[in-house]
Symmetry: C2
Subunit: 477 residues, 2 copies
């Protein structure tokens, strides 16, 4: 097996030849799964894409599994012919993770969605991979606990583990990586593995749980996860504050974190995004960089946080600190943020967003965003910015007319410059979206030759025949 | 290379033949390091042991490195002859991690101890591996920030990363695993690797940082770490509460966590430990299971936490809730906990402690501790118990007369029963001490054949000639 060096300038991912299942394999799968094996074009197409703008690459078959024994069966059957296997949750990944670039069998986990246990005493829940975050939170409604990871889409837990998802909550509750206790995984030889015990911490050997979190289906198939839960805040309050500059808004968040204010969310909208939400939601916000904040705790504790952040914001020129405590008020106040993505799309009706995902150290965030805004202006792009400020993560929604290929090219060129800039600032090409197909070209610049070589060493050791989601992440042939 | 199956019933670790450096290799090291290469017996002995009760196994040479280039030099020189390499920080590990069971060269990092940068804006610091936690916290004194991981000993950051250390703070601030941003590592071929960017989160490929955290020097040598810092609490308060039973004390902690009280520390002393500290520190505590608690925040927030926990404690029969706010009062109140280890040793003067490290899900902690106390009583052991309740982690200090080998055997037999019990409760053999030599025999019971096989696959892939700390963790030949 030869390791192919990544070509940092090539936007085309490395891919191997298509490895179709034989007629015999399909017959074996049909015998076991009956009508839960699908080969109809519509189903294949639906499973050969995600929320990225890549053209679909359908698998050769889709199997709807219902339990781990079925997963083992499919893995063993496909391993015999070195047929690729791609796990599929809700299809909400955004970097081409799910495309069957070498064909193969897609394992759809959506029907393997039992909540196996909820333990309030352990602040944990064990779920099958196909359980969605909203399904889990509905089941937790009476416990006083909740599952915090929220990437926006109603993703499956298995998918969120595979992509190391995060979102607006992670400034307080951490990312998927921070909320995992244990995983069950089916390996390339069909063996089942539990990555850890159910204890909240352990020093018993290599961290197998974190090896699979963020592995994007390339090392094994996640069938079950035990996740941490958090107590719901007694009360929640929301605030919106406008600032004279992006730098001032970011400065306010950093100083609040340094003061130990446990911000529950801290979302930045740049001027263009504010303009977009005003047009979309008729909100009449001043056209200034704006922070959407959320606080949790007792009423006293919230009041205290409000006073602290209010003072800090004032020191950074923050103005019109607008508060909401009652659920309906909060919901109304946060509406612009919740609708921001769709509002931004309306800046250029008919366009789609090529969404970037740079993440940099907090102290470099203001510079990185300012330089990025200058780049956007210089190249005449329409690219509103949304930021998870507490994580140093921000998204540019580069609006692209699908009928004008030169716009997609310009967006890609912008993305390359942005990632180079994020790396110069000590950051990463992707804070929460993952590598998939789209970011493979940047891995070497980010991790160096030694880092990419090590990732390939791990992949080769765990999946020697390259059956799990081939051609993704640090992909090799 | 053959994988040797672990024998779960054997207390003797698997070990290979001694692999001594050649005279030529020693000469090469001498030429480069002059008097920073030591082969004197006293130095070798000092580097061939840790705080465990294993008899020392000295390396063949000790090199005091001062920078990463020197580490690379030693690794490359030793790799040519497949001579083992063992990283050494402050020698405070407790499971035989540092013993040179196959001989080789010990790399002492204590002189590679520069604090490379402190970034208040990023809430992070980058340090060389030999920096100790107290050294780092001293350097942070004026920043309002601190480094939270505190395993008791004044360990080095490199050592704490290698063993996935934690301690009394982790209920609030997490373990070493949760406080890492980036590592620099020298690999088996002498290549240098940075495991991640400096961003606070990333989804860019496999989690290399967590692969090395807890790897106990078996996959590479950690030369540098970027760690998270936390804001110091505006105020701190301490409390001591006695309970009618261990179960009641644990119930109080679990309920407090479920209510979202951000406990800074929650330490349990069982009756025997209370008796020991009373005798040692003349504290006059009631001989009941006792919780030592710490709270941080603003005065208002602390008052609120106090009221909540007071009410919860009352519901569990907690009594004599004793509070301290001023530093000297807090220090006095916590003295029994701080001196507990030495106080317990005085229960049997001249004995040493064989300290266990089981960790179980919170909901199983009370049962596990109760069953363990019954075991202690049944076998006539003297074994006071200290618990990091919020993590589900507890230590039995089994007091053993070093002149009576049958006591060491009885302690080992107790440890085996305890670990079997912890595993039955869904827990781990080691919450924070690590595997080293001592827990190797339990890895298979904890992780199953698939888990141990995967750990060995990873070890073989990253260190094919088994030069890094051979014979430890999932050790193989």
């Amino acid at each position: 097996m030869t390791v192919i060096a990544a070509n940092p300038s090539s936007p085309t991912p490395i891919r191997g030849a298509r490895r179709m299942p034989s007629a015999g394999l399909i017959a074996d799968l049909r015998a076991r799964f009956a009508d839960r094996l699908c080969t109809q074009q519509a189903v294949l197409l639906q499973h050969g894409r995600d929320e990225s703008s890549f053209a679909p690459e359908p698998p050769d078959a889709v199997v709807y599994v219902q339990n781990v024994e079925e997963v083992v069966f499919v893995v063993q059957a496909c391993a015999q012919e070195c047929v690729p296997l791609i796990g599929f949750g809700s299809g909400s990944s955004v970097e081409g993770h799910l495309l069957a670039v070498e064909g193969g069998v897609c394992i759809d986990f959506s029907r393997m969605n039992r909540i196996l246990s909820i333990s309030a005493g352990d602040l944990s829940a064990t779920v099958e991979a196909g359980v969605t975050r909203s399904q889990l939170n509905l089941a937790l409604a009476q416990t006083g606990l909740f599952f915090s990871v929220d990437p926006g889409a109603d993703a499956t837990v298995g998918g969120m583990v595979a992509t190391a998802a995060s979102g607006t909550n992670s400034v307080r509750y951490g990312t998927m990586r921070d909320n995992l206790i244990n995983l069950s995984v089916v390996m390339a030889d069909g063996q089942q593995l539990r990555t850890a015990s159910h204890a909240r911490k352990s020093a018993a050997g290599y961290n197998l749980t974190q090896l699979f979190c963020g592995s994007e289906g390339t090392l094994g198939l996640i069938t079950e996860a035990t996740v941490r839960l958090h107590p719901r805040s007694e009360r929640t309050a929301a605030a919106v504050v406008r600032f004279p500059s992006v730098r001032a808004a970011i400065g306010c968040v950093i100083e609040s974190i340094q003061f130990g204010v446990p911000l529950a969310r801290a979302e930045l909208l740049d001027v263009l995004t504010v303009r977009a939400v005003n047009a979309h939601s008729h909100t009449g916000l001043a056209e200034l960089p704006t922070l959407f904040l959320e606080f949790g705790g007792s009423q006293n504790h919230i009041d205290e946080q409000a006073a602290q952040v209010g003072e800090i914001a004032g020191g950074h020129g923050g103005d019109a600190f607008c508060w909401a405590h009652r659920p309906e008020e909060r919901s109304r106040l946060w509406t612009p943020r919740h609708h921001a993505y769709f509002a931004c799309l309306q800046l250029r009706p008919g366009c789609r967003s090529m969404t970037t995902d740079a993440c940099v150290p907090l102290s470099r965030l203001a510079s990185c965003v300012e330089e990025t805004q200058a780049d956007i202006a210089e190249h005449g792009l329409t690219a509103p910015i949304l930021g998870h400020v507490g994580d140093g993560n921000f998204h540019c929604l580069v609006l692209v007319d699908p009928h004008r290929p030169e716009e997609a090219e310009a967006a890609e060129a912008f993305s390359r410059r942005l990632i180079a800039r994020a790396l110069r600032h000590g950051g990463t090409s992707t804070g929460e979206h993952g590598v998939g197909l789209h970011k493979m070209q940047y891995l070497q610049a980010e991790h160096g030759e030694a880092g990419v070589a090590l990732m390939r060493t791990i992949k080769r050791a765990l999946d020697p025949h390259n059956i799990f989601n081939p051609g993704k992440l640090a992909g090799y042939r």
